[in-house]
Symmetry: C2
Subunit: 247 residues, 2 copies
Amino acid sequence: MTYCVAMRLKAGLLFASDTRTNAGVDHIASFGKMHQFQIPHQREIVLLNAGNLATTQSVLSLLRQRLQGEGEHLLNVPSLYDAAVLVGRTLKEVVARDSAGGGLNQGVDFGANFLLGGQIKGEGPRLFHIYPQGNFIEATEDTPYFQIGESKYGKPIIDRVIKYETTLLPEAAKCTLVSFDSTIRSNLSVGLPIDIVMLRANQFEQAMQPPHRIGREDPYFSRLREGWSEGLRKVFEDLPDEPWFEN
Amino acid sequence: MTYCVAMRLKAGLLFASDTRTNAGVDHIASFGKMHQFQIPHQREIVLLNAGNLATTQSVLSLLRQRLQGEGEHLLNVPSLYDAAVLVGRTLKEVVARDSAGGGLNQGVDFGANFLLGGQIKGEGPRLFHIYPQGNFIEATEDTPYFQIGESKYGKPIIDRVIKYETTLLPEAAKCTLVSFDSTIRSNLSVGLPIDIVMLRANQFEQAMQPPHRIGREDPYFSRLREGWSEGLRKVFEDLPDEPWFEN
């Protein structure tokens, strides 16, 4: 399984993903799910993936391979909308090819979801969720974040904290890590390290950095987990008792 | 959808369920999902259900109808284990009958899950999760709780708080309501009122009471939701900021 979240806030974009992949519980491996494409000072694109690993790897291979070619690719499409169309089309191409085996499919789900976000100079930051069918939706001020993969455990804290006006730092970054903590505690198939990238809106001066990677030994993440866990326990203990059970 | 949780703790049993049923978003109704069977001072049994409403209603109707008969029923089986066998068998009987339509099924899922718990004098409190296939598992000291229905949003808080030694009151009851709060906030298809029942271990003096029902106007639940929400926000704000983003 996988857990990825991306946010498009007023201040900019945030992307985070875990790195665990599994095919059954006895075949667990680490694969990065965050992929960056950029022309420094002109366009910054981040792609997160969840779903069938063969499908997502093939989509990424084709997207990268075609950067050299003459046709449309992620570094020459005029808008992020066109980038979403391109990723959706590539996804359909891969699934059509791989699922053509007919009787060999054995009920395998070839599907994958992608989160595509970033900024191309000339337009604002944008964020898309591309479905297994290749179509997609775009984040708005009312719905500023998307999740893919094992999303439910980590959703309540995001719903409580994240608004379009929320700051990238510290709020959105902290909230994202707490959301990952809840997910990792409840689902074995989501695991450290976490990759995280933030892109401030309209700032092309500095080139996009590689993801910050948060591993098992990360002292900040450990303090955050402990602080959250102790804080929750404290809040829980301080909650009022039930008057209606006193009968 | 539905959310039900049941716990078998050292102190006794706790059962809670929401009351919303939906078939699509435009067909939402209220149906209790908690059903009690008892012989006062001798046996107390609670059944929670999730899944296909036609199936669960039929299973309950048959279980109740047969209480009058000569055969095995919930009020005469010798152990709670046998009660679980009986519920599983009745479930399979209903699904076999209803799904026999062949071409009429139109992909409908006839399945249902049940949580069955209680105490029959002569044995300790027991709790079972009965699967759509009619087989079942029993709660142990290591795994003292089960959830059915929309379980993920409300799982993290239970995982953090509930151990076999946790008190029924106030801890398990409060934790259950917080778990429902998280679920209701994140999933429209789970809704108030909540039904909740607690059975202290080995106490047959008082007959089992009907569920305590917590509705929209319940002042205690409102205070709990507010206290939890404000407490979480406060803990979140007090979490340390990320040193690794200061570059």
